[in-house]
Structure formats: C-alpha cells, structure tokens
Symmetry: C2
Subunit: 165 residues, 2 copies
DNA sequence: GCAATACTGTATGGCACCGTACAGTATGTG
DNA sequence: CACATACTGTACGGTGCCATACAGTATTGC
C-alpha cells in the first residue's frame, strides 16, 4: 500500500497523525468530563459557564460559535443549566429575537471551582511538555485547521445523494 | 468566517490548546467524511475496510480496539458493510464465539478508492507544514496521551453518583 | 408604510457512539 | 467430570451532536 512516499519512520501505515489527533481529542474530552462529574457537569457545560462568567451576558448564537457547536444544541445545553439555576436568560430591549445568557450567583461560584479543576488538570497534562513545544503544537494545529477548512470547502462533485439504496 | 478560537487575546484561561485540539479533530472527521460521501462511507467505515483489506480477517473485538470504538458499535458498523457486500463474516473453527471479518472482492475494489481519497486529502492537509513539524506534533500528542491516560486513571473521589437530584 | 430578505432561537428526526446487561462459548481449577 | 471464571458478540437505553425546517423579529429596499 502507499506506493508513494512510504516513510517507514512515519508511524504505522494505518493510524497516523490524523488518527492520533482524533484519539487524543477523545481522551481530552474524557479527562475533562471525568474531572467535572463531581460538579455535575460535562466539558461543554463547563466551557459555557466559564465563558459567560468571564465575558458576561452573551447571545446564544455567539456562544454556539465560541464553543464550536450548533445553535440548536446550545439551546438544550442552556436549558439544563438554567433549570439548575446556574445561568439565566434575559431579554435584550433593542432586539427581541435574542436571549442574553448571563451567569447567576450560583453559577459564578461554580465557575470558580471549574477554573480550579481546569488549572489542576492542565498542569498535569503539561508534564514533560515544554512551553515552546505546546506553542508549536498550537501553531501546527492552527495551520492544519486552515488546510482542513479549505479542504472541506472544496467539495466539488456529488454531495446530495450518494449512489446508494 | 473563521471561528478559529486562537487569537492570543482570545485565549484567556478558557479555550486554549486543548480546545484547539478538539476543534481540529472535529474538522478532521468532517473533512474525511465529506471526501468519502461519494463512496457512500464515513470515516469509521472506511477505516474498517482499509484495515481488513490490509491485514486480513480480524475478529470484531480486535477491530474495535484498533479503530478506537466500543465492541457494541463495531457490530452495527459491520452489519451495514456486510449488507452492502463489502465485508463478510466467517466463523472460526477453533473458536465458535468469534466472527472473522474479511474483505470481499467488492470491498477490495472500494479499498483502493479509499486509499486514493486518503492520499489526496493527506497531501492537501500537509500544505505549509514541514515533515519534522508533523513528527513533532505526533510526538507531543503521544506524550499528551500518556498524561491524559494517567489523569483519567487518577479518578479517586466520587465517581458513582454525582451529588445531584 | 410595506414587502423582501436576513437573522435568532426552537422543534424534530437522525447519526455515531457509549455503558450496561446478557447469552453463548472457551478456558482454567477443584 | 463439574464448576467457576473469562471472553465474544449482541440488545437496549441514553447522550451529545448535527441538519433541516420553522416561527418570530430586525433590517433593507422600494
């Protein structure tokens, strides 16, 4: 397989950088989720609370963009947090379409504990990885994101219905 | 419009390397999925076909481990591929518990096209990223995986039921 | 003013995956 | 041999996310 440029150094043929990346991402989510369960939260919820606690009242669409999930999903996430009294929805006088999602007192208190968990876990994850290595990692991934975005945007031929059934 | 979460201003305690990593992983999956839809496959299915085509008949548990998903899920994936005649299940005489999942002729042909798509996309993703940068990326992520594994394994306090409800 | 367009949040159905529990089979131990 | 234990694959319910379609509201053009 791969008659072209078989780097024998470059890891096993199958699971390569992209797969490693996806596996690592799954582990990141698992690790944060595990550490956040004592607070009754998952990573998405914690990120939302942290964001609102730091940047103030935000519309749902903005939150969806910042957290990287869809507008539909963000609604149910907020629903649950609102039921638990951690955030609240406030109308905005000048635009009656939107809700402003704001932190409550309970939410602010929880945000402190979230930040604590976050700091502890991050410190553990940094073991044996230098600062410039982390920055290089971030740089390469940003570059990768650009390439991925253009690759996804380049979907030329037959998106609608695959030749199945 | 670039919801990339990586301005150094935008990186306060919250969305940092870990978030970038997860967002990148999502994009990787999306990119492969988009390129594979013309073949009527998603990334998981394509990986399974590629693995079986290269390494021969394999039990479901081994496949689940190699693809990084659960034993339950791998069954339904194989079901669909089998229905389409891309793989087949063969019994193993010396162990009647297991199925050996093997590639069919149709599957082998499709595997060739999968490898093609894979090579093309990988080439696009490598743009502007040097070889040693990729290797450094892989190294850091491997190290990160180790730290993540130990972090997950270190879940001492209250896993069973969160203090809710 | 008034229609056309764009945007926000919601409802719905679907997908991929997980965790648990279970039946069938192999393997070890008395 | 009988029994307990370990392993394989499957069934089931639950979760997080997406894509689409929709109603309500703002904004733009005339």
């Amino acid at each position: 397989m791969s008659n072209l440029t078989t780097h024998e150094l470059d890891s096993p043929p199958w699971l390569r950088v992209e797969s490693t990346l996806m596996a690592t991402a799954r582990l990141v989510r698992s690790a944060f989720d595990v550490r956040l369960t004592p607070l009754g939260l998952n990573l998405t919820q914690a990120s939302l609370i942290g964001y609102v606690a730091e940047f103030g009242a935000t519309t749902q669409s903005e939150l969806a963009d910042h957290l990287g999930i869809g507008r539909a999903q963000i609604g149910s996430v907020i629903d649950r947090l609102q039921t638990r009294g951690l955030v609240e929805r406030r109308p905005r006088p000048d635009d009656r379409r939107v809700w402003l999602v704001a932190i409550t007192d309970d939410g602010r208190e929880l945000a402190g504990r979230i930040a604590e968990v976050d700091a502890v876990l991050r410190a553990e994850l940094r073991r044996g990885i230098g600062r410039e290595e982390r920055q290089a990692l971030a740089w390469v991934m940003t570059r990768l994101q650009q390439n991925l975005a253009t690759a996804i945007a380049t979907t030329p031929p037959c998106p609608p219905t695959p030749p199945e059934r």
